[in-house]
Point group: C2
Chain length 150, copies 2
């Protein structure tokens, strides 16, 4: 299963450790550039208020099966965490769409490192994607940055 880069993420986060724990917790704006050959697929995207962005975490460790969530002391199975280090390092972000111009989306809420390959964009719909009261212990109390990291 070979993925193609349909674009690239441009952000102020230059290297591992720069990005916030979850992009939605900070106000940083980023850009998503969609390559010319895929721009026909962006038609009508301007009518979406929020987008699901899937991107490839190209600096991840794909051999990891456990991770220690920020602020936790013991490691957890990687599929119970949002660590970038996992067998298929596909990140999921929900972003606010601010503008689109010439194939470049300006967004808020993206936690991608600068240069991360873009895989997909989908409309976010509260009707099916927003679920109240769901979570796991180590994500319920979240601050923008891990405890003790700043």
């Amino acid at each position: 299963m070979e993925c193609v880069a349909i674009g690239v993420c441009r952000s102020p986060y230059r290297q591992v450790g720069d990005a916030p724990r979850q992009g939605r917790l900070v106000d940083t704006e980023s850009e998503i550039e969609v390559f010319p050959e895929y721009r026909a697929g962006l038609s009508d995207v301007e009518r979406c208020s929020h987008l699901i962005v899937l991107y490839w975490q190209d600096r991840a460790d794909r051999t990891a099966l456990s991770a220690t969530p920020p602020g936790e002391v013991r490691s957890r199975g990687v599929f119970s965490t949002r660590s970038p280090n996992r067998p298929n390092p596909i990140a999921f972000s929900v972003v606010d769409l601010l503008s689109i111009e010439d194939g470049v989306l300006r967004v808020r809420g993206l936690d991608a490192l600068d240069g991360s390959p873009l895989l997909d964009i989908k409309p976010y719909s509260s009707a099916v994607d927003a679920i109240e009261g769901a979570g796991v212990d180590w994500m319920r109390q979240m601050s923008p940055h891990p405890v003790g990291r700043d």
Copy 2:
């Protein structure tokens, strides 16, 4: 960017057209089998109420850049739709976790066709993933099946 299958989705949806428009709108239960070599990553997943499941839509048309949403008359740019046909056919589903046993997750809300390769499992957290009032016209009024399809 090569993805590996970390497991497989088992569902009652055998072929294209069997699956509901969005899995969350029906009560069907499915199974997700994680392959033995990745099961260490499932530790602690039983503490999650809802999971994000990414799977590969292996019967998709990857050349499509437009799609006509169910009930609509004109086509839209594929990135403004949830069509399975897209350059990287990675599906995003949010499921209720019902049980885990021997590497097999029983879930509700998955819309995968039977046999779809599993790519990733992540914990869903309302704190970052639930956004109210977001959407796009053709997803606001959703019925489990497209208008006129039944």
